[in-house]
């Protein structure tokens, strides 16, 4: 099957590689900046173009990977669906719940498969936590704390900095945790959220949300784009018989390179290598679905619900009141 990648600046190159690893051919790379499209296309012997809509109608393209800024997702999904292509769309699915609904309707109408990259469902450590919970290792779960973030992302022409477009850390980053919460612990009933969303004098965002799930569980989700460096994920799950904790700072590998004779390590690069990248696992899962076998682990409706949780959190942050989901 042939894939066209739309949006080559951020996640485009990585997704192209993952698709290739799963046996797809990357035939075209599109970006509004032709040079950006070329930089990815050259690595895959693919065509480069700045015609992001034109590439959707190429007859040899079976699957479209949409890796563009969040607010543009819907128009590309709708156009790709109209052209009869299957779709892999990066998260967040859309900027608004309404956009997600439009995208789902377009895919349904065109009878194409629509996959949204909620990759945390494929992260080995999160799958391990889900398994431990399922095995009853903490008993009945009552509280979940998820923490994610680090530096403010740069992003193509700084679109992350436009909080109207990106939704800040609450929509763009914490949506991973919102989706995983729903995946493992069911639907949320209400949310209270405080978010910084500062642009002056620096771009910093820091968001603190409490969800009350329908089954009574309290979940606290913290997202940061306020740190001067680094990236960290933490999780804690508390039940009546135990606790599970995860901290991504605790890695098996730390590489420290000396840059000059006599100088100390200039940078410490921690890493936690796994046999198969979670990003490849999501492409493999999508492929199984495309092959007509099992439905993918993430449905478009799941992705919509994650956007609903994020936009409810943002509404709470704006109004200073709890928001019912």
């Amino acid at each position: 099957m042939n894939v066209a990648i739309i949006g080559c600046n951020g996640m485009g190159r990585m997704h192209a590689q993952m698709a290739v690893n799963c046996g797809f051919n990357v035939v075209a790379c599109a970006d509004l900046e032709l040079s950006t499209a070329r930089s990815v296309a050259s690595g895959f012997d693919a065509d480069a173009t700045d015609d992001c809509f034109g590439v959707l109608t190429r007859p040899d393209v079976d699957v479209v990977g949409i890796m563009t800024p969040t607010p543009t997702h819907t128009e590309y999904v709708v156009a790709a669906a109209k052209a009869g292509k299957h779709i892999f769309c990066e998260k967040p699915f859309g900027r608004t719940v309404q956009q997600c609904k439009e995208a789902i309707a377009a895919a349904k109408k065109a009878r194409v498969k629509l996959f949204v990259g909620h990759v945390v469902r494929y992260f080995q450590e999160f799958e391990a936590m889900r398994a431990q919970v399922a095995q009853g290792k903490v008993g009945k779960v009552g509280f979940v704390r998820l923490y994610r973030g680090g530096i403010f992302p740069a992003g193509q022409s700084g679109w992350f900095r436009d909080l109207e477009q990106s939704g800040g850390v609450t929509l763009d980053s914490m949506i991973h945790d919102f989706d995983w919460l729903r995946y493992v612990f069911g639907d949320a009933d209400r949310v209270f959220c405080q978010a910084l969303q500062r642009t002056v004098p620096n771009h910093v965002d820091y968001s603190m949300a409490t969800f009350r799930m329908k089954n009574g569980i309290i979940a606290k989700v913290i997202g940061t784009w306020a740190h001067p460096s680094g990236f960290r994920v933490e999780a804690e799950i508390c039940g009546d018989q135990g606790i599970i904790q995860f901290n991504s700072d605790d890695t098996p590998l730390k590489a420290m390179k000396r840059t000059a004779p006599g100088a100390g390590a200039s940078m410490i690069v921690p890493s936690s290598p796994v046999h198969t990248s979670p990003y490849q696992l999501e492409w493999e899962d999508f492929k199984v679905w495309l092959d007509g076998k099992l439905r993918a682990r993430v449905t478009p409706e799941d992705a919509l619900e994650a956007v609903r949780m994020a936009t409810a959190a943002l509404k709470s942050a704006e109004t200073g009141k709890p928001v019912k989901l």
Binding site: V138, K140, G142, F143, R145, F192, C193, Q194, L196, R198, P201, N202, V204, Y206, M208, T210, R212, G216, I217, I218, K220, I222, T224, A226, H227, P228, C238, G239, D240, Q241, G242, I243, G320, K321, P322
Partner: protein
Amino acid sequence: MAKIGIMSFAHMHANGYAACLNELPEAELVAVWDDNAKRGREAAKQYGTSFVGDMDRFLESGLDGVIVTSENVKHRAMVEAAAAAGKWVLCEKPLATTVADAKAIIAACKKAEVGLSTAFPCRFSPPLIEVRDLIESGEYGVLYAANCTNNGQCPGGWFAQEELSGGGATMDHTVHVADLLRWMTGREFTWVYCENGMLVHDNLGMDDLGSLHMEMEGGLKVSHTASWSRCKSFPAWGDVTLEIVAEKGVIAVDAFNQKLDVYNDNAMKAEWAHWGSNPDLGLVKEFVASCDERRAPSVTGLDGLRAVEVTVAAYKSAKSGRVVKV
């Protein structure tokens, strides 16, 4: 030499304070009184002091100050009696379970012209003092947000009887962090939102976890988790953590993260052995000095009241589902 007595060993922190009094050369643990005579006698024996079964006699035994470590709801009666007898008072936190009781405690001590302190030992923790110093230095600029925890194991006993404790984990584990933030920033809390409940215990009958959202003067956003979520197999009693987001950076502190990992086959669980400075010692030392010098302690009754106000607002919010003004 300040002569100190302890009123009630109901709260386990009494043990820590008694040990500190024995350690400090400038203090003497002269007597223990307890409304549970058996408990009081045992404690007196353990800390090498005498037990006095009659409260009036205890208060007439030449004490300079008393430490009140009873069940939360009994603080008021004991502090009022001690103040009337002219004793300096260090009262365990929370100062009271209601705003009215906290105010009455302050009024009684004011009327008797005795010093009143609330037991907020975290103010004497070197890592937390360092955080306050960093904030005060101005190097981090304007403070934007703080994300905090005070998790612990469920103490059980009277803590789980609302008529004695006044509430669960939200009551027990909100005040330390509320006080730290007031102390570090010099700001007061303006509103509280709280979700809480019985989440990680089967039949405790009260809240064992509260997730709080608050704002302080100047728009400083605060979230806090107050819990008894630490299970029996957890390696330590709990934690006090703050992540403070500011204009020029982030300050993260895990106050008791000066520890050894200890693996012992008799315990059959991993344990953390804390090697950092003991904050209780600083608290007790300051109280003893205030007794000696007949001056007001650095941590006051008003500090205790302000933290109680936050806690009471949290329970109101949890009940009503609304944001509650402090």
